[in-house]
Symmetry: C2
Subunit: 290 residues, 2 copies
Protein backbone atom coordinates (compact mmCIF):
# COMPACT_ATOMS: atom_id res chain seq x y z
CA UNK A 1 0.00 0.00 0.00
CA UNK A 2 1.31 3.47 -0.83
CA UNK A 3 1.66 6.24 1.71
CA UNK A 4 -1.10 8.32 0.10
CA UNK A 5 -3.54 5.38 0.29
CA UNK A 6 -2.70 4.72 3.93
CA UNK A 7 -3.18 8.39 4.80
CA UNK A 8 -6.45 8.47 2.85
CA UNK A 9 -7.64 5.45 4.86
CA UNK A 10 -6.73 7.12 8.17
CA UNK A 11 -8.42 10.32 7.03
CA UNK A 12 -11.65 8.46 6.26
CA UNK A 13 -11.83 6.72 9.64
CA UNK A 14 -10.47 9.66 11.61
CA UNK A 15 -12.19 11.10 14.64
CA UNK A 16 -13.20 14.75 14.55
CA UNK A 17 -15.15 16.32 17.39
CA UNK A 18 -17.99 17.93 15.44
CA UNK A 19 -19.25 19.95 18.41
CA UNK A 20 -15.98 21.85 18.24
CA UNK A 21 -15.30 24.22 15.36
CA UNK A 22 -11.79 25.02 16.55
CA UNK A 23 -10.20 22.58 14.11
CA UNK A 24 -10.84 24.32 10.77
CA UNK A 25 -8.82 21.82 8.71
CA UNK A 26 -7.36 18.47 9.73
CA UNK A 27 -5.45 15.82 7.78
CA UNK A 28 -4.64 16.48 4.13
CA UNK A 29 -2.69 19.73 3.82
CA UNK A 30 0.82 20.80 4.77
CA UNK A 31 -0.51 21.91 8.16
CA UNK A 32 -3.68 21.57 10.22
CA UNK A 33 -5.53 24.87 10.77
CA UNK A 34 -6.90 25.84 14.17
CA UNK A 35 -9.08 28.84 15.05
CA UNK A 36 -8.74 29.49 18.80
CA UNK A 37 -11.70 30.80 20.78
CA UNK A 38 -11.47 34.12 22.58
CA UNK A 39 -10.44 34.15 26.26
CA UNK A 40 -8.76 30.78 26.27
CA UNK A 41 -5.18 29.59 26.56
CA UNK A 42 -3.97 26.60 24.59
CA UNK A 43 -1.58 24.08 26.14
CA UNK A 44 0.77 21.79 24.21
CA UNK A 45 2.75 18.66 24.97
CA UNK A 46 4.43 15.88 23.06
CA UNK A 47 5.47 12.39 24.15
CA UNK A 48 7.38 9.57 22.54
CA UNK A 49 6.47 5.92 22.76
CA UNK A 50 9.38 3.81 21.56
CA UNK A 51 9.58 0.08 20.90
CA UNK A 52 11.46 -1.83 23.62
CA UNK A 53 11.44 1.29 25.81
CA UNK A 54 7.76 1.94 26.44
CA UNK A 55 6.30 -1.24 24.94
CA UNK A 56 7.28 -4.42 23.13
CA UNK A 57 5.53 -6.05 20.18
CA UNK A 58 5.16 -9.11 22.42
CA UNK A 59 3.29 -7.38 25.26
CA UNK A 60 1.32 -4.78 23.29
CA UNK A 61 -0.97 -5.22 20.29
CA UNK A 62 -0.76 -2.48 17.61
CA UNK A 63 -4.05 -1.07 18.92
CA UNK A 64 -2.69 -0.99 22.50
CA UNK A 65 0.40 0.89 21.29
CA UNK A 66 -1.85 3.46 19.59
CA UNK A 67 -3.93 3.79 22.73
CA UNK A 68 -0.88 4.16 24.95
CA UNK A 69 0.78 6.72 22.64
CA UNK A 70 -2.22 9.04 22.85
CA UNK A 71 -3.00 8.41 26.52
CA UNK A 72 0.52 9.36 27.70
CA UNK A 73 0.22 12.70 26.00
CA UNK A 74 -3.37 13.26 27.18
CA UNK A 75 -2.14 12.77 30.74
CA UNK A 76 -0.07 15.96 30.39
CA UNK A 77 -3.23 17.84 29.41
CA UNK A 78 -4.91 16.42 32.53
CA UNK A 79 -2.03 17.76 34.65
CA UNK A 80 -2.80 21.29 33.38
CA UNK A 81 -6.55 20.86 34.01
CA UNK A 82 -7.09 21.23 30.25
CA UNK A 83 -9.84 19.98 27.94
CA UNK A 84 -8.50 18.05 24.88
CA UNK A 85 -8.73 19.83 21.49
CA UNK A 86 -6.63 18.07 18.87
CA UNK A 87 -3.56 15.88 18.37
CA UNK A 88 -0.84 15.29 15.75
CA UNK A 89 0.54 11.77 15.45
CA UNK A 90 3.96 10.93 13.99
CA UNK A 91 4.34 7.20 13.42
CA UNK A 92 7.13 5.12 11.88
CA UNK A 93 6.95 1.33 11.47
CA UNK A 94 9.13 -1.35 9.89
CA UNK A 95 8.37 -2.11 6.23
CA UNK A 96 7.45 -5.72 7.02
CA UNK A 97 4.66 -4.60 9.41
CA UNK A 98 3.41 -2.06 6.83
CA UNK A 99 -0.16 -0.91 6.24
CA UNK A 100 -2.02 -3.48 8.40
CA UNK A 101 0.00 -2.50 11.48
CA UNK A 102 -0.60 1.19 10.80
CA UNK A 103 -4.34 0.57 10.47
CA UNK A 104 -4.56 -1.32 13.77
CA UNK A 105 -2.41 1.27 15.57
CA UNK A 106 -4.86 3.94 14.43
CA UNK A 107 -7.86 1.77 15.42
CA UNK A 108 -6.59 1.86 19.00
CA UNK A 109 -5.56 5.50 18.89
CA UNK A 110 -8.83 6.70 17.37
CA UNK A 111 -10.94 4.68 19.82
CA UNK A 112 -9.10 6.50 22.61
CA UNK A 113 -9.43 9.85 20.78
CA UNK A 114 -13.19 9.38 20.59
CA UNK A 115 -13.43 8.45 24.28
CA UNK A 116 -11.67 11.68 25.29
CA UNK A 117 -13.13 13.88 22.50
CA UNK A 118 -9.84 14.83 20.88
CA UNK A 119 -9.68 15.33 17.11
CA UNK A 120 -6.87 13.82 15.03
CA UNK A 121 -5.54 16.76 12.99
CA UNK A 122 -2.48 15.39 11.19
CA UNK A 123 1.05 14.15 11.67
CA UNK A 124 3.70 12.19 9.83
CA UNK A 125 4.09 8.62 8.62
CA UNK A 126 7.39 6.92 7.88
CA UNK A 127 9.34 3.73 7.72
CA UNK A 128 11.88 2.72 10.35
CA UNK A 129 13.42 -0.47 11.73
CA UNK A 130 11.41 -0.20 14.94
CA UNK A 131 7.96 1.09 15.84
CA UNK A 132 8.12 4.65 17.16
CA UNK A 133 5.36 7.18 17.70
CA UNK A 134 5.34 10.76 18.91
CA UNK A 135 2.00 12.28 19.86
CA UNK A 136 1.47 16.00 20.28
CA UNK A 137 -1.71 17.00 22.13
CA UNK A 138 -3.31 20.43 22.36
CA UNK A 139 -5.79 21.31 25.09
CA UNK A 140 -7.68 24.41 26.19
CA UNK A 141 -8.14 26.14 29.55
CA UNK A 142 -9.82 29.44 30.44
CA UNK A 143 -7.23 32.21 30.10
CA UNK A 144 -4.66 32.18 32.92
CA UNK A 145 -6.21 29.14 34.61
CA UNK A 146 -3.80 26.34 33.64
CA UNK A 147 -2.48 24.40 36.64
CA UNK A 148 1.30 24.74 36.96
CA UNK A 149 3.97 22.83 38.83
CA UNK A 150 5.20 26.04 40.38
CA UNK A 151 2.33 27.28 42.58
CA UNK A 152 2.73 25.14 45.72
CA UNK A 153 3.02 27.14 48.99
CA UNK A 154 4.15 26.17 52.48
CA UNK A 155 1.19 24.88 54.47
CA UNK A 156 -0.70 23.65 51.40
CA UNK A 157 -1.79 20.02 51.46
CA UNK A 158 -0.50 17.36 49.04
CA UNK A 159 -3.03 15.10 47.29
CA UNK A 160 -3.06 12.28 44.75
CA UNK A 161 -5.91 11.00 42.60
CA UNK A 162 -6.69 7.25 42.44
CA UNK A 163 -4.32 4.51 43.60
CA UNK A 164 -0.55 4.27 43.24
CA UNK A 165 1.70 1.44 42.09
CA UNK A 166 -0.85 -0.25 39.81
CA UNK A 167 1.25 0.19 36.68
CA UNK A 168 4.47 -1.16 38.25
CA UNK A 169 2.48 -4.10 39.63
CA UNK A 170 0.94 -4.82 36.19
CA UNK A 171 4.35 -4.53 34.54
CA UNK A 172 5.87 -7.07 36.95
CA UNK A 173 2.99 -9.42 36.17
CA UNK A 174 3.74 -9.06 32.44
CA UNK A 175 0.56 -7.16 31.65
CA UNK A 176 0.64 -4.17 29.29
CA UNK A 177 0.34 -0.77 30.94
CA UNK A 178 -2.46 1.26 29.41
CA UNK A 179 -2.62 4.65 31.10
CA UNK A 180 -5.99 6.22 31.81
CA UNK A 181 -5.50 9.98 31.56
CA UNK A 182 -7.23 11.75 34.47
CA UNK A 183 -8.85 14.44 32.37
CA UNK A 184 -12.08 14.64 34.33
CA UNK A 185 -10.19 14.70 37.62
CA UNK A 186 -7.80 17.35 36.28
CA UNK A 187 -10.61 19.66 35.20
CA UNK A 188 -12.43 19.12 38.51
CA UNK A 189 -9.49 19.98 40.77
CA UNK A 190 -8.56 22.95 38.53
CA UNK A 191 -12.01 24.45 39.11
CA UNK A 192 -11.57 23.95 42.88
CA UNK A 193 -8.49 26.18 42.68
CA UNK A 194 -5.52 23.91 43.43
CA UNK A 195 -2.15 25.63 43.69
CA UNK A 196 0.06 23.19 41.72
CA UNK A 197 -0.22 19.95 39.75
CA UNK A 198 1.88 17.35 37.91
CA UNK A 199 1.05 13.94 36.46
CA UNK A 200 2.72 10.87 37.91
CA UNK A 201 4.51 9.54 34.86
CA UNK A 202 7.87 8.73 36.45
CA UNK A 203 6.85 7.82 40.01
CA UNK A 204 5.65 9.73 43.08
CA UNK A 205 9.12 10.19 44.59
CA UNK A 206 10.59 11.81 41.45
CA UNK A 207 7.50 13.76 40.35
CA UNK A 208 6.85 15.19 43.83
CA UNK A 209 10.51 16.34 43.93
CA UNK A 210 10.00 17.99 40.52
CA UNK A 211 6.90 19.82 41.73
CA UNK A 212 8.78 20.98 44.86
CA UNK A 213 11.73 22.15 42.74
CA UNK A 214 9.44 24.14 40.42
CA UNK A 215 7.62 25.68 43.41
CA UNK A 216 10.79 26.28 45.45
CA UNK A 217 9.41 24.39 48.45
CA UNK A 218 9.75 20.99 50.13
CA UNK A 219 7.17 18.39 51.16
CA UNK A 220 6.45 15.82 53.87
CA UNK A 221 4.31 12.78 53.20
CA UNK A 222 3.04 9.97 55.41
CA UNK A 223 3.43 6.40 54.18
CA UNK A 224 0.31 5.35 56.08
CA UNK A 225 -1.85 7.70 54.02
CA UNK A 226 -0.68 6.53 50.58
CA UNK A 227 -3.52 5.00 48.52
CA UNK A 228 -1.70 1.85 47.37
CA UNK A 229 -3.25 -0.13 44.52
CA UNK A 230 -4.40 -3.67 45.25
CA UNK A 231 -1.45 -6.06 44.96
CA UNK A 232 1.14 -3.28 44.73
CA UNK A 233 3.92 -2.74 47.26
CA UNK A 234 4.85 0.53 49.01
CA UNK A 235 8.01 0.55 46.89
CA UNK A 236 5.93 0.35 43.68
CA UNK A 237 3.58 3.09 44.92
CA UNK A 238 6.52 5.39 45.67
CA UNK A 239 8.82 4.74 42.73
CA UNK A 240 6.84 2.93 40.04
CA UNK A 241 6.35 4.98 36.89
CA UNK A 242 3.42 5.23 34.50
CA UNK A 243 0.60 5.44 37.05
CA UNK A 244 -0.54 8.68 35.38
CA UNK A 245 -2.47 9.74 38.45
CA UNK A 246 -2.38 13.45 39.30
CA UNK A 247 -0.41 14.92 42.19
CA UNK A 248 -1.81 18.28 43.32
CA UNK A 249 -1.35 20.77 46.12
CA UNK A 250 -4.06 23.00 47.56
CA UNK A 251 -4.66 25.46 50.37
CA UNK A 252 -6.01 23.77 53.57
CA UNK A 253 -9.47 25.30 53.14
CA UNK A 254 -10.07 23.54 49.82
CA UNK A 255 -12.15 20.35 50.04
CA UNK A 256 -11.23 17.68 47.54
CA UNK A 257 -13.74 15.30 45.93
CA UNK A 258 -13.97 11.59 46.76
CA UNK A 259 -11.12 9.51 45.34
CA UNK A 260 -8.57 12.26 45.91
CA UNK A 261 -6.38 11.40 48.91
CA UNK A 262 -4.42 13.76 51.15
CA UNK A 263 -0.92 12.33 51.60
CA UNK A 264 1.08 15.16 53.15
CA UNK A 265 1.93 18.81 53.42
CA UNK A 266 4.08 21.41 51.66
CA UNK A 267 6.89 22.89 53.79
CA UNK A 268 8.90 26.07 53.59
CA UNK A 269 12.36 24.60 52.93
CA UNK A 270 13.58 25.73 49.51
CA UNK A 271 15.73 22.72 48.69
CA UNK A 272 13.00 20.49 47.25
CA UNK A 273 13.53 17.80 49.87
CA UNK A 274 10.79 15.20 50.18
CA UNK A 275 10.44 13.60 53.63
CA UNK A 276 8.41 10.48 54.25
CA UNK A 277 7.59 9.69 57.88
CA UNK A 278 10.28 12.20 58.83
CA UNK A 279 13.07 10.65 56.72
CA UNK A 280 14.39 11.85 53.33
CA UNK A 281 12.74 9.99 50.46
CA UNK A 282 15.15 9.28 47.63
CA UNK A 283 13.87 9.92 44.10
CA UNK A 284 14.11 6.50 42.53
CA UNK A 285 11.60 7.12 39.76
CA UNK A 286 12.42 6.68 36.12
CA UNK A 287 15.11 9.02 34.77
CA UNK A 288 15.55 8.54 31.03
CA UNK A 289 19.23 9.45 31.06
CA UNK A 290 20.45 8.36 34.48
CA UNK B 1 24.22 13.60 33.14
CA UNK B 2 20.65 13.16 34.36
CA UNK B 3 17.60 14.04 32.28
CA UNK B 4 16.66 16.94 34.57
CA UNK B 5 20.14 18.47 34.20
CA UNK B 6 20.07 18.12 30.41
CA UNK B 7 16.62 19.72 30.24
CA UNK B 8 17.78 22.51 32.56
CA UNK B 9 20.74 23.15 30.25
CA UNK B 10 18.48 23.32 27.17
CA UNK B 11 16.10 25.61 29.04
CA UNK B 12 18.93 28.02 29.88
CA UNK B 13 20.22 28.27 26.31
CA UNK B 14 16.78 28.13 24.69
CA UNK B 15 15.56 30.66 22.20
CA UNK B 16 12.43 32.62 23.03
CA UNK B 17 11.17 35.36 20.78
CA UNK B 18 10.72 38.17 23.32
CA UNK B 19 8.83 40.42 20.93
CA UNK B 20 6.10 37.83 20.98
CA UNK B 21 3.98 37.36 24.09
CA UNK B 22 2.03 34.46 22.61
CA UNK B 23 4.17 31.87 24.40
CA UNK B 24 3.15 32.39 28.03
CA UNK B 25 5.16 29.45 29.36
CA UNK B 26 7.76 27.31 27.62
CA UNK B 27 9.94 24.43 28.84
CA UNK B 28 9.54 23.24 32.41
CA UNK B 29 5.93 22.24 33.03
CA UNK B 30 3.73 19.38 31.84
CA UNK B 31 2.65 21.52 28.87
CA UNK B 32 3.66 24.76 27.20
CA UNK B 33 1.04 27.52 27.46
CA UNK B 34 0.10 29.65 24.47
CA UNK B 35 -2.19 32.69 24.38
CA UNK B 36 -3.39 33.18 20.79
CA UNK B 37 -3.98 36.68 19.46
CA UNK B 38 -7.43 37.68 18.24
CA UNK B 39 -8.22 37.35 14.52
CA UNK B 40 -5.52 34.83 13.71
CA UNK B 41 -5.52 31.17 12.78
CA UNK B 42 -2.79 28.85 14.06
CA UNK B 43 -1.33 26.16 11.81
CA UNK B 44 0.37 22.97 13.02
CA UNK B 45 2.63 20.37 11.50
CA UNK B 46 5.02 17.67 12.67
CA UNK B 47 7.87 15.91 10.90
CA UNK B 48 10.16 13.05 11.76
CA UNK B 49 13.87 12.93 11.05
CA UNK B 50 15.14 9.39 11.49
CA UNK B 51 18.69 8.07 11.50
CA UNK B 52 19.61 6.21 8.29
CA UNK B 53 16.39 7.46 6.66
CA UNK B 54 16.81 11.24 6.62
CA UNK B 55 20.43 11.48 7.72
CA UNK B 56 23.37 9.37 8.85
CA UNK B 57 25.80 10.07 11.68
CA UNK B 58 28.54 9.95 9.03
CA UNK B 59 27.11 12.68 6.77
CA UNK B 60 25.47 14.94 9.37
CA UNK B 61 26.93 16.47 12.53
CA UNK B 62 24.64 16.57 15.58
CA UNK B 63 24.12 20.31 14.93
CA UNK B 64 23.19 19.64 11.29
CA UNK B 65 20.63 17.03 12.40
CA UNK B 66 19.09 19.59 14.78
CA UNK B 67 19.02 22.19 12.01
CA UNK B 68 17.46 19.77 9.52
CA UNK B 69 14.85 18.52 12.01
CA UNK B 70 13.53 22.04 12.58
CA UNK B 71 13.89 23.22 8.98
CA UNK B 72 11.80 20.36 7.53
CA UNK B 73 8.92 21.27 9.80
CA UNK B 74 9.32 25.03 9.19
CA UNK B 75 8.97 24.34 5.47
CA UNK B 76 5.38 23.20 6.08
CA UNK B 77 4.67 26.56 7.77
CA UNK B 78 6.13 28.27 4.69
CA UNK B 79 3.74 26.28 2.48
CA UNK B 80 0.79 27.77 4.41
CA UNK B 81 2.23 31.29 4.21
CA UNK B 82 2.51 31.28 8.01
CA UNK B 83 4.80 33.13 10.40
CA UNK B 84 6.60 30.83 12.90
CA UNK B 85 5.42 30.97 16.53
CA UNK B 86 6.77 28.03 18.54
CA UNK B 87 7.99 24.45 18.27
CA UNK B 88 8.05 21.28 20.38
CA UNK B 89 11.01 18.94 19.92
CA UNK B 90 10.97 15.23 20.77
CA UNK B 91 14.46 13.74 20.65
CA UNK B 92 15.78 10.26 21.46
CA UNK B 93 19.46 9.31 21.26
CA UNK B 94 21.54 6.23 22.08
CA UNK B 95 22.95 6.12 25.64
CA UNK B 96 26.54 6.14 24.36
CA UNK B 97 26.01 9.49 22.58
CA UNK B 98 24.33 10.93 25.67
CA UNK B 99 24.36 14.53 26.90
CA UNK B 100 27.08 15.95 24.58
CA UNK B 101 25.18 14.83 21.47
CA UNK B 102 21.95 16.30 22.84
CA UNK B 103 23.68 19.61 23.52
CA UNK B 104 25.14 19.86 20.00
CA UNK B 105 21.83 18.83 18.40
CA UNK B 106 20.18 21.71 20.28
CA UNK B 107 23.00 24.10 19.33
CA UNK B 108 22.09 23.55 15.66
CA UNK B 109 18.37 23.55 16.25
CA UNK B 110 18.39 26.72 18.37
CA UNK B 111 20.61 28.58 15.89
CA UNK B 112 18.00 27.80 13.24
CA UNK B 113 15.17 28.73 15.63
CA UNK B 114 16.76 32.12 16.21
CA UNK B 115 17.22 32.73 12.48
CA UNK B 116 13.54 32.13 11.82
CA UNK B 117 12.25 33.63 15.10
CA UNK B 118 10.56 30.52 16.42
CA UNK B 119 10.51 29.87 20.17
CA UNK B 120 11.35 26.44 21.60
CA UNK B 121 8.43 25.65 23.91
CA UNK B 122 9.03 22.09 25.07
CA UNK B 123 9.11 18.49 23.95
CA UNK B 124 10.37 15.12 25.06
CA UNK B 125 13.78 13.56 25.61
CA UNK B 126 14.50 9.85 25.63
CA UNK B 127 16.95 7.08 25.02
CA UNK B 128 16.82 4.84 21.97
CA UNK B 129 19.19 2.73 19.89
CA UNK B 130 19.15 5.25 17.04
CA UNK B 131 18.85 9.03 16.82
CA UNK B 132 15.27 10.08 16.10
CA UNK B 133 13.63 13.49 16.34
CA UNK B 134 10.11 14.70 15.76
CA UNK B 135 9.55 18.44 15.52
CA UNK B 136 6.13 20.05 15.78
CA UNK B 137 5.90 23.63 14.55
CA UNK B 138 3.12 26.14 15.11
CA UNK B 139 2.69 29.19 12.89
CA UNK B 140 0.18 32.03 12.58
CA UNK B 141 -1.74 33.52 9.65
CA UNK B 142 -4.46 36.17 9.55
CA UNK B 143 -7.82 34.43 10.02
CA UNK B 144 -8.92 32.48 6.93
CA UNK B 145 -5.78 33.38 4.97
CA UNK B 146 -3.72 30.15 5.15
CA UNK B 147 -2.66 28.88 1.70
CA UNK B 148 -4.16 25.45 0.98
CA UNK B 149 -3.38 22.71 -1.51
CA UNK B 150 -6.98 22.70 -2.62
CA UNK B 151 -7.55 26.13 -4.21
CA UNK B 152 -6.03 25.70 -7.71
CA UNK B 153 -8.44 26.52 -10.59
CA UNK B 154 -8.29 25.79 -14.32
CA UNK B 155 -6.41 28.57 -16.10
CA UNK B 156 -4.31 29.49 -13.07
CA UNK B 157 -0.55 29.53 -13.61
CA UNK B 158 1.88 27.17 -11.85
CA UNK B 159 5.00 28.63 -10.19
CA UNK B 160 7.99 27.45 -8.17
CA UNK B 161 10.32 29.42 -5.94
CA UNK B 162 14.11 29.11 -6.34
CA UNK B 163 15.86 26.29 -8.22
CA UNK B 164 15.00 22.60 -8.37
CA UNK B 165 17.15 19.48 -8.02
CA UNK B 166 19.78 21.05 -5.75
CA UNK B 167 19.13 18.64 -2.89
CA UNK B 168 19.26 15.50 -5.06
CA UNK B 169 22.47 16.79 -6.64
CA UNK B 170 24.03 17.47 -3.22
CA UNK B 171 22.93 14.05 -1.98
CA UNK B 172 24.59 12.30 -4.94
CA UNK B 173 27.76 14.25 -4.22
CA UNK B 174 27.67 12.98 -0.60
CA UNK B 175 26.93 16.40 0.89
CA UNK B 176 24.37 16.74 3.69
CA UNK B 177 21.04 18.26 2.68
CA UNK B 178 20.15 21.21 4.88
CA UNK B 179 16.77 22.59 3.83
CA UNK B 180 16.20 26.34 3.83
CA UNK B 181 12.53 26.87 4.63
CA UNK B 182 11.02 29.49 2.29
CA UNK B 183 9.20 31.40 5.02
CA UNK B 184 9.74 34.86 3.54
CA UNK B 185 8.71 33.66 0.08
CA UNK B 186 5.65 31.89 1.53
CA UNK B 187 4.45 34.99 3.35
CA UNK B 188 5.09 37.14 0.25
CA UNK B 189 3.10 34.97 -2.17
CA UNK B 190 0.31 34.54 0.39
CA UNK B 191 -0.16 38.31 0.52
CA UNK B 192 -0.28 38.40 -3.30
CA UNK B 193 -3.30 36.08 -3.13
CA UNK B 194 -2.12 32.78 -4.62
CA UNK B 195 -4.80 30.10 -5.01
CA UNK B 196 -2.91 27.01 -3.78
CA UNK B 197 0.49 26.04 -2.36
CA UNK B 198 2.55 23.02 -1.27
CA UNK B 199 6.20 22.61 -0.32
CA UNK B 200 8.42 20.42 -2.48
CA UNK B 201 9.53 17.84 0.07
CA UNK B 202 9.08 14.71 -2.05
CA UNK B 203 9.82 16.02 -5.57
CA UNK B 204 7.99 18.22 -8.08
CA UNK B 205 6.33 15.32 -9.94
CA UNK B 206 4.76 13.85 -6.78
CA UNK B 207 3.97 17.12 -4.97
CA UNK B 208 2.36 18.72 -8.05
CA UNK B 209 0.19 15.61 -8.44
CA UNK B 210 -0.80 15.96 -4.75
CA UNK B 211 -1.76 19.61 -5.22
CA UNK B 212 -3.82 18.67 -8.33
CA UNK B 213 -5.54 15.86 -6.43
CA UNK B 214 -6.46 18.16 -3.54
CA UNK B 215 -7.74 20.82 -5.98
CA UNK B 216 -9.51 18.33 -8.26
CA UNK B 217 -7.67 19.63 -11.35
CA UNK B 218 -4.75 18.65 -13.61
CA UNK B 219 -1.66 20.55 -14.73
CA UNK B 220 0.64 20.98 -17.70
CA UNK B 221 4.25 22.06 -17.29
CA UNK B 222 7.03 22.86 -19.77
CA UNK B 223 10.44 21.28 -19.21
CA UNK B 224 12.14 24.27 -20.85
CA UNK B 225 10.81 26.61 -18.16
CA UNK B 226 11.99 24.60 -15.15
CA UNK B 227 14.54 26.50 -13.04
CA UNK B 228 17.12 23.72 -12.67
CA UNK B 229 19.82 24.14 -10.02
CA UNK B 230 23.43 24.37 -11.19
CA UNK B 231 24.84 20.89 -11.70
CA UNK B 232 21.47 19.14 -11.32
CA UNK B 233 19.78 17.10 -14.05
CA UNK B 234 16.20 17.44 -15.33
CA UNK B 235 15.50 14.08 -13.66
CA UNK B 236 16.71 15.46 -10.30
CA UNK B 237 14.67 18.65 -10.74
CA UNK B 238 11.52 16.63 -11.47
CA UNK B 239 11.79 13.78 -9.00
CA UNK B 240 14.45 14.69 -6.42
CA UNK B 241 13.05 15.18 -2.93
CA UNK B 242 13.99 17.62 -0.17
CA UNK B 243 14.31 20.79 -2.27
CA UNK B 244 11.80 22.48 0.05
CA UNK B 245 11.01 25.13 -2.52
CA UNK B 246 7.35 26.19 -2.75
CA UNK B 247 5.00 25.22 -5.56
CA UNK B 248 2.11 27.68 -5.93
CA UNK B 249 -0.74 28.42 -8.32
CA UNK B 250 -2.20 31.85 -8.99
CA UNK B 251 -4.72 33.57 -11.26
CA UNK B 252 -3.11 34.91 -14.48
CA UNK B 253 -3.46 38.54 -13.38
CA UNK B 254 -1.20 38.05 -10.34
CA UNK B 255 2.42 39.17 -10.85
CA UNK B 256 4.98 37.13 -8.96
CA UNK B 257 8.16 38.56 -7.46
CA UNK B 258 11.65 37.91 -8.88
CA UNK B 259 12.95 34.40 -8.19
CA UNK B 260 9.50 32.83 -8.62
CA UNK B 261 9.29 31.04 -11.98
CA UNK B 262 6.19 30.24 -14.01
CA UNK B 263 6.46 26.59 -15.13
CA UNK B 264 2.98 25.75 -16.44
CA UNK B 265 -0.76 26.01 -16.18
CA UNK B 266 -3.65 24.39 -14.29
CA UNK B 267 -6.14 22.52 -16.50
CA UNK B 268 -9.74 21.46 -16.03
CA UNK B 269 -9.33 17.66 -16.09
CA UNK B 270 -10.30 16.24 -12.70
CA UNK B 271 -8.02 13.23 -12.68
CA UNK B 272 -4.89 14.95 -11.29
CA UNK B 273 -2.84 14.15 -14.38
CA UNK B 274 0.40 16.08 -14.76
CA UNK B 275 1.58 16.56 -18.37
CA UNK B 276 5.07 17.72 -19.24
CA UNK B 277 5.62 18.91 -22.82
CA UNK B 278 2.33 17.20 -23.68
CA UNK B 279 3.20 13.76 -22.22
CA UNK B 280 2.11 12.27 -18.89
CA UNK B 281 4.70 12.84 -16.17
CA UNK B 282 5.01 9.89 -13.83
CA UNK B 283 5.23 10.66 -10.11
CA UNK B 284 8.59 9.22 -9.16
CA UNK B 285 9.08 11.28 -6.03
CA UNK B 286 9.70 9.77 -2.65
CA UNK B 287 6.85 7.63 -1.26
CA UNK B 288 7.64 6.48 2.26
CA UNK B 289 5.67 3.25 1.94
CA UNK B 290 5.90 2.35 -1.76
Amino acid sequence: MRETEIIEQIRRQTFKNDQDRTLVRGIGDDCAIVRPRAHEDLVFTSDFVLEDRHFTLRTHTPAAIGEKALARSLSDLAAMGAEPVFCLVSLAVPAELGGPFVKRFYDGLLRTAKRYSISLAGGDLGRFDKVIADVMCCGRVPRGKAMLRSGAKAGHRVFVTGKLGAAAHAFNAGRPILPKPRLTEGATVRKLGVSAAIDLSDGLSLDLARLCLASNVSAEIDSIRLPIARGATLEQALHGGEDYELLVTAAPKIRMPLGVTEIGVVTRKQSAVVLMDGHPLQSKGFDHFA
